[in-house]
């Protein structure tokens, strides 16, 4: 499978491109620090006094990450870190802007979380020198993910915030274990699918135009479907439920190259969604708001769509170029710093800004899929694909929800939204993708190193003389 790909790039080696990464990092810092300065000028009328300290801290973090990459992953993709740094910097500035309007201190906490995220990013790259080690933890990480997903349901530990029971609280800290679980689930799915892809890919019968899988191979997909439904029912979290099931479906499809799984999966998803819509009030409310938000807005109504409609107004007011930092009023949107940060960006930076942000997400997904394409081992391919699809699904679900393309489901916008668990988990995801791309882009080891085991096989083979 890798041979064809390598044939296409035969005779080429990937360059390290660390210089290009550094250049892009400087631009990314300009995006992050520039946004901070623009917020200060727009809201308070002067350049913020702590601009140097803030910019220095941000620069220190990304340069530290860059130096570590130079040493431990020299062939890693040069675009990912700068894109992530730019998104994180922009997110910090927008959260800071909302802080100034609301009198909160989310930006400061977010900066602390970002520091922790970069530390874990560095730790992942230093400790994990070869992602294939993770195949050993296939079932361990699957089990850990399920335990983490169940933790919020434990009485006394779980916390219900805004109707969703997806947090755990230890002392003053609250944490969303689902964010960590999504990384573990990708590893578990990849390890499982690499081993069982043949059975899942080949067995089955043909019905009309699609190959349908065998009944007994449906076990894993049904289990995943039930887990997703469980999250929906017991934790009332539409977003995570959609994310986990979509992730599994994408990885199953990529591993087996069988469209039949998509048919089965979509049927299960539509069935589950329909039942959930019938049985659960909170799902039906979301759909009603999606179909007709203005019926639930303003005095005399339940005002349930206040958040969505304010965000729509904001984006409409922002128009093409936006109001400019400090000139809009994104603080009217409840939770603008987390789920609705795209609404805040749409209001103050306009369509131009939102499209730039979406392009940056597109670049992250593209680079992760690229790492999957050139990776030489099946496990790495699947992990990179899984992480790319986590990103793509999450951005689609949350931005689609905010812009009223699909019913709103609560998920964080990766790297932009306020939320420690999500930020830390996403930094680890980027570290994993960088590790896979580093191994994939490294020049192929020469025959002398790799053919040792094939030579050993040859010794035991009976030699047949032709003449």
């Amino acid at each position: 499978m890798a041979a064809g790909q390598q044939g296409a790039i035969m005779g080429f080696v990937h360059r390290r491109r660390r210089g290009a990464e550094l250049f892009l990092l400087v631009l990314a810092l300009a995006v992050g620090v520039g946004a901070y300065a623009a917020v200060g000028i727009g809201v308070e009328g002067e350049v913020p006094v702590d601009l140097l300290g803030y910019g220095g801290w941000l620069a220190g973090l990304v340069v530290a990450a860059h130096v570590v990459i130079r040493f431990v992953a020299p062939y890693a993709d040069p675009v990912l870190l700068p894109v992530v740094a730019a998104l994180n910097g922009l997110g910090l500035a927008v959260i800071h802007r909302l802080d100034l309007a609301d009198g909160t201190t989310f930006a400061r906490q977010q900066l602390t979380w970002m520091t922790l995220g970069v530390l874990l990013f560095v730790g992942t790259l230093v400790v994990l020198r070869d992602h294939r080690v993770l195949t050993r933890f296939t079932y361990t990480s699957g089990l850990a993910a399920i335990v983490l997903l169940l933790l919020p349901l434990v009485p006394g530990l779980g916390k219900t915030i805004n109707g969703a029971r997806i947090w755990i609280g230890v002392g003053p800290f609250s944490f969303q274990p689902g964010e960590v679980a999504k990384v573990l689930l990708v590893v578990a799915f990849a390890g499982y699918l690499v081993l069982h892809r043949d059975a899942l890919a080949l067995a089955g019968r043909r019905l009309l135009v699609v190959d349908l899988p065998r009944g007994r191979d449906l076990g894993p997909i049904l289990a995943m479907w039930l887990i997703s439904l469980g999250i929906l029912v017991f934790q009332r979290d539409l977003g995570s439920s959609l994310l986990f099931f979509g992730l599994f479906l994408v990885m199953l499809y990529v591993a087996t190259e069988r469209p039949g799984w998509l048919v089965v999966g979509s049927t299960l998803f539509l069935g589950g969604a329909l039942v959930a819509w019938r049985l659960f009030g909170h799902v039906r409310t979301r759909v009603d708001i999606w179909l007709d938000p203005f019926a639930y807005y303003g005095e005399g109504t339940s005002d349930q769509s206040y958040q969505l409609v304010e965000s729509l107004f904001g984006m409409g007011w922002g128009g093409l170029l936006g109001r400019g930092f400090g000139e809009g009023s994104p603080d009217r949107i409840p939770y603008a710093e987390s789920d609705f940060i795209i609404g805040a960006i749409g209001e103050e930076l306009g369509l131009t800004g939102v499209i730039a942000v979406l392009l940056l997400y597109g670049l992250i997904v593209e680079r992760a899929l690229r790492a999957a394409l050139i990776s030489r081992d099946g496990f790495g391919k699947l992990v990179a694909t899984g992480l790319a699809s986590v990103f793509a699904l999450q951005v689609f679900v949350v931005v689609g929800g905010v812009t009223r393309l699909i019913p709103l489901t609560g998920l964080t916008t990766p790297f932009l939204s306020y939320g420690g668990s999500s930020l830390v988990a996403n930094w680890v995801i980027i570290a994993l993708v960088l590790r896979i791309s580093d191994l994939a882009r490294r020049p192929a080891p020469s025959v002398g190193d790799t053919a040792g085991d094939t030579a050993a096989d040859a010794e035991t083979t009976q030699v047949v003389r032709l003449s």
Partner: protein, 160 residues
Amino acid sequence: MSELTLFLIRVAYLAILWIFVLSAISVIRSDMFGARVPEAARGAAEPRGPKGKGRSKPPAKRRGSPTHVIVTEGSNVGERAELDQAPILIGRGTDAAIRLDDDYVSTRHARIAASGDQWFVEDLGSTNGTYIGSVRITQPTTVTLGTQVRIGKTILELRK
């Protein structure tokens, strides 16, 4: 802060954002095909044998393509065969293009054949095997200029 300044700041910031996006895309564009393997690095890699599974660069047609295969070590030093007559059979038998008087060589030991513009050496089920460097080959393996192919006590090379 005047209206105009704020407008300029807003446009300037959007410009920075887009400059970043476009630079990232241009880095990806220049990264698309990687770099050509430098000639020096290829030469250095060769004593260890060519890179496996067709990753080795085919000999460039214009000047670097090999014209003959020659015995560089063993009892038949200097014996050669032109590559125009490919496939070239190597062995102790009388039908071999390169006949080797070497007790460790089979009658029909190996052959050298072209595929596309690459040259491959293929073991024909010999008793003692065909080696590139210290590695016994189990499938047709690319050879480039100067790659040492060992058969019994004999070493052959492609030359131009």
